[in-house]
Symmetry: C2
Amino acid sequence: MNLRKNSTGRLTLNDVARAAGVSRATVSLVLRGSPLVHVDTRARVEAEMARLGYVYNRAAANLRRRVSSSVALVVNDLSNPFFAEFAAGVDEALAAAGYVTLLGSTGESPERQLAVVGSLIEHDPAAIILSPAEGSDAAALARAVGPRTPVLVFNRELAGSPWDFLGLDNRRGAHLATEHLLALGHRRIAFFGGHADSSSCRERRAGYADALRNVGIAVDDDWLIESAPTRMDAAARTGLLFAREPAPTAAVCYNDAVALGLMLGLVRRGRHPGRDFAVTGFDDIPEAILAAPPLTTIAADPRARGRQAAQLVLARVEGTAPEPQRTIAAVELVVRESCMPV
Amino acid sequence: MNLRKNSTGRLTLNDVARAAGVSRATVSLVLRGSPLVHVDTRARVEAEMARLGYVYNRAAANLRRRVSSSVALVVNDLSNPFFAEFAAGVDEALAAAGYVTLLGSTGESPERQLAVVGSLIEHDPAAIILSPAEGSDAAALARAVGPRTPVLVFNRELAGSPWDFLGLDNRRGAHLATEHLLALGHRRIAFFGGHADSSSCRERRAGYADALRNVGIAVDDDWLIESAPTRMDAAARTGLLFAREPAPTAAVCYNDAVALGLMLGLVRRGRHPGRDFAVTGFDDIPEAILAAPPLTTIAADPRARGRQAAQLVLARVEGTAPEPQRTIAAVELVVRESCMPV
DNA sequence: CCGGCGATTTATAACGATCTAAATTCGTCG
DNA sequence: CGACGAATTTAGATCGTTATAAATCGCCGG
């Protein structure tokens, strides 16, 4: 047995073994609660660990056992409360399952995203939960990830990726919002915000169009207005809604950020959201309830989505489902005060 | 040389070495860009790596080199935008320095916090950035962390801990807010919200008291009102401000969440924040600008604080400053529309 | 043609854990 | 009292990488 004193101060199995007068192997068995070790030995070893303040080195153990106890979470923007909540949910569920979360944020930059994934993958996560940046290159990502690490894509479809997907029922959500406005008597309803080339925007627009078609209203292309999915840009583009007479009386917004921006833009133009123009959002971020007036929106419960993502990815890690899975989470309409009847 | 085929599919240095017809050691040198290897050899090895899709196993390397390339971030509540921004800043700076972020969230529970720290520490982070849960037990934490991992405590003082600290200038912030109200002519000013036993609340109250004392106003204990630092609880306690005549005309709030809750509570009582009652916040969360009216508050720039925390902790990891450092970040008043003159 | 000296390359022992197979120890029974 | 099977313990190889020290190569001068 090698008894060389560990040169740095780091305590290892060896140190505990020596202190307790047993072999490394025995200490290892104690650590993992094996029934093989004699109860007295166990007690002695455990006492020694406590006395010395030993801490387990999971990296070394994982290396030997060829397993991983971490999952990487790559998120585009933590300062968006929707994703912050999602991240909290992911971490909560991973921690409960004994995994640790490796965090990476990309700031919506596909290049940074590639770098982040490349760095995280070197830490050998059991899986990756990826909420892709806009304009991600699926092939480049697949190359960076390699074939051995399962990935769950969240929220934005990644065209042509071989991975599991968890998304919201965007189509149905927008459908619900549009129906709500129709039921209030609105007939001139715009779809406001988002980038038309993102999958979630396309799906939401489709739900909106469905609902209109169901009641025999044609979609007016002038009322399909794009914007960056941010408050600022949405506020700036408010004017586009009123470029032509007759203007719409309501807008289904791409998401809450856009809706709040639109409300700001309306106020600046002297209009009163919820009184002379109806607005709906999507996501139900915490600000939605605080807005003036409180925003009617589509709730997606991002924290629950986070837990769900963690569960899906762990199922994939442990079991071996053969096919990539698509999971679509239900959403619901929460009515507040931003839509008046017409 | 051991040529046993790797049983799992995982590619290792060995596989690359074999494919390129060189030794493991050479491949390792190539990986680290050593000038020792011949340029032709390097090219051949690199080609082989690309062809096979080799990915570096940093855990194994770290084990051998006895270094760590991760930093743990333990945060009480990611769904609080202040901490979400902070986390984003931490991750941004750590990533730039080549470290990966291990995330742990505690949901404000000291027990979960202990468990989370215990789990993270097993992954051998180079350091821990800890935003402690309320009611943390410093001694228990110190035991869980052990003596070898540097810790930076953020935001809440941890009594009797031997660790570095990064905090906001709470005292000065509250002082600024109070002075602002005084300058607007207010004389009956309350301090609203927060738990009096938290260090940040005590400091903010002290700044508030200083400012009042400076103009010869005594602090009225009836106007020191506690609440949980949440919107809900703040809204519920609004009535306490008006228990006695004459009531205050303004309140310095513990933080933005409390201020927003208070504004909600005021509206419910038929008052108009910013018109017949002045309110200030603390933190400048994104909602602050959206509130009705937009909230005058103290900006702490949490993302910059996150970057700063990362930098401090890395400095500690790399250099060896002997003394624990206390760093207090400046804050500034941002005036919006929630305070009318009296 | 040998010795020597850079320039390259490599064998081998670590890092801190686990696993396998083999070696001990122990109680009991013939 | 020695044998035998069960209960415990352990030596040694191994995970994928790095560090050290030694080996090899090519080329030059003598």
